[in-house]
């Protein structure tokens, strides 16, 4: 159902994005073209680091069928210290998460396609205290 995800597996497992050498902007997920510079862009891969802070978050109660075992779960937008932003789950008690909380990336399971199907992994975050 989601085979296209595997093309970008490297970026999903490790926080690797792209940096435009023309203007210095950093992007995650990686892009082929810098939206600021377009044809002038020169994109190179860059490690984004593991740590950042919560820009905003929510607790999802009405969850997609594929994630019903995790219900409810926290998902947020994290700004890494390198400047890139990532939408990801934050695996913590919702009561402990705040806007501005320091977090670090961890490798976790995201879902699976049925009992014998593919298991999806990716980056989630935990509080970094």
């Amino acid at each position: 159902m989601l085979p296209r995800f595997w093309r970008k597996i490297k970026y999903r497992y490790n926080l690797v994005g792209t940096k435009c050498e023309n203007c210095g902007s950093i992007y995650y997920p990686p892009r082929n073209i810098c939206p600021e510079c377009r044809r002038k862009s020169r994109m190179v891969e860059v490690e984004l680091g593991e740590k950042g802070r919560v820009v905003t978050y929510t607790v999802i109660h009405d969850v997609p069928e594929s994630s019903k075992l995790m219900k409810p779960y926290v998902v947020g937008i994290v700004e890494l210290d390198s400047g890139a932003r990532v939408t990801a789950q934050i695996v913590e008690d919702p009561e402990r998460v705040r806007i501005g909380s320091r977090v670090r990336a961890v490798f976790r399971k995201y879902g699976e396609e049925g009992e014998d199907g593919i298991i999806y992994y990716g980056t989630k975050f935990v509080l970094d205290e």
Partner: protein, 384 residues
């Protein structure tokens, strides 16, 4: 460029239309619009249909031909074009129809929108296909969740509250009582909104528009042709579409909807008026927070003060900037691909004085339809 007028408007009921098929729904709206314009049908030269996801909702693609066929227009072989832009599909169909007439290529065209969501499929998961599936939805975000994140940030930075958002839902339900086509024609209270279950904190079930069945149709004509059909046309003076980053994480300012800002300002400029001249608004309220953010991004309220517009009553039917006299998406129902046209139909009724008990006195009206979290925005300006 030719000036464009609306000569006919119609819509189906919105809601769970179990006894009507996709084709029944769109035909009921189309017939009402033809009757309103006093057209027989063969005058139509082209048709633009907004539809987000018939392939997933009813497992039918090629709906442009289907609709042309069942509306009796295949026999005159007109072009029928489906337009998709998430839940801004209707707005973009209106823009395409507008361009076709303004350019002089066609004299009379149909701008339609339709969605049938209750036959197959999980409607909320299909709605999530208007966000970035690989980098937002894969990681656990939903459309509601992303708007919830915006709401949380607004509350954190500006002191808006869950009560403020609830008031938007209460207002739209109150307005819908006087709209015979609306899905929910009953008032609700702030308490009932606050006591409804969370969808994605801080948004609740009653902060969320229902995903509905429905269709809406406008018939557009060039000004000279319009004069043959009506003495009191409503003019469509501008329709502008803009885009933004698809994923919310890529917008540097999460509360700034740049597509909305760009589209509304360009539309006002093209229409030769200012926001102060606009007397009635239909603004996309897929969630209560969506409407609040549109107050700010359209310019009805200053940045960070959207909640004051609802607290102070500015956006009520009796206020200075009435928003969603129809009941909005929240109470009319959000028939996804139809919504942008449904909003335009309401503005047309308002400017013609056909809005009954929900009538607002206005010369100029604006509709703003967005897709997903605002990666597409369409702003249109109408004048009587």
């Amino acid at each position: 460029m030719k000036r464009v007028a609306v000569i006919g408007a119609g819509m189906s009921r919105f809601g769970e239309l179990w006894n009507m098929s996709f084709r029944d729904i769109v035909i009921s709206a189309g017939l009402e619009a033809l009757e309103d314009a006093n057209l027989e049908g063969r005058e139509i030269e082209a048709m633009y249909v907004g539809n987000m996801s018939a392939g997933r909702f009813i497992a039918q693609e090629h709906v442009s031909a289907l609709i042309a066929d069942y509306s009796g227009l295949a026999s005159i072989n007109i072009p029928a074009i489906r337009v998709e832009a998430g839940d801004a599909s209707g707005g973009v169909a209106l823009k395409e129809a507008y361009i076709a007439v303004a350019s002089g290529i066609h004299d009379i065209v149909i701008a339609a929108g339709v969605e049938k969501v209750t036959d197959v499929g999980s409607s909320s998961e299909i709605m999530d296909s208007s966000i970035d599936k690989e980098w937002e939805a894969f990681n656990g975000a939903t459309l509601a969740g992303l708007f919830a994140m915006m709401a949380r940030l607004h509350m954190h930075e500006y002191g808006s509250s869950e009560e403020d958002l609830a008031r938007i839902s209460v207002k739209n339900h109150r307005n819908a009582v006087n709209n015979p086509k609306a899905q929910f024609r009953r008032e609700i209270t702030v308490e009932s909104v606050l006591n409804s279950p969370y969808v994605a904190e801080p948004l609740k079930v009653l902060d969320s528009a229902p995903i509905s069945d429905g269709a809406a149709v406008l018939i557009l004509a060039s000004e000279d042709v319009a004069r043959k059909y009506t003495d009191t046309p409503v003019f469509l003076d501008a329709v502008v579409q803009s885009s933004d980053y698809l994923a919310l994480q890529n917008r540097r300012d999460i509360l700034e909807m740049r597509a909305v800002k760009t589209a509304t300002r360009k539309a006002l400029k093209l229409a030769g008026c200012s926001l102060d001249d606009v007397g009635v608004f239909e603004l996309h309220d897929s969630f209560t927070v969506t409407e609040m953010l549109l107050y700010e991004n359209v310019g009805i309220a200053e940045r960070g003060r959207g909640h004051e517009a609802i607290r102070d009553g500015v956006v009520e039917i009796g206020g200075g900037k009435p928003v969603n006299p129809s009941g909005g998406l929240k109470a009319c129902g959000h028939a996804v691909g139809a919504t942008g046209i449904r909003q335009a139909v309401e503005i047309v009724y308002q400017l013609r004085g056909d809005a009954g008990k929900r009538q607002v006195d206005a010369e100029i009206g604006m509709a703003v339809n967005i897709g997903g979290t605002g990666a597409t925005a369409v702003a249109s300006v109408f004048r009587r």
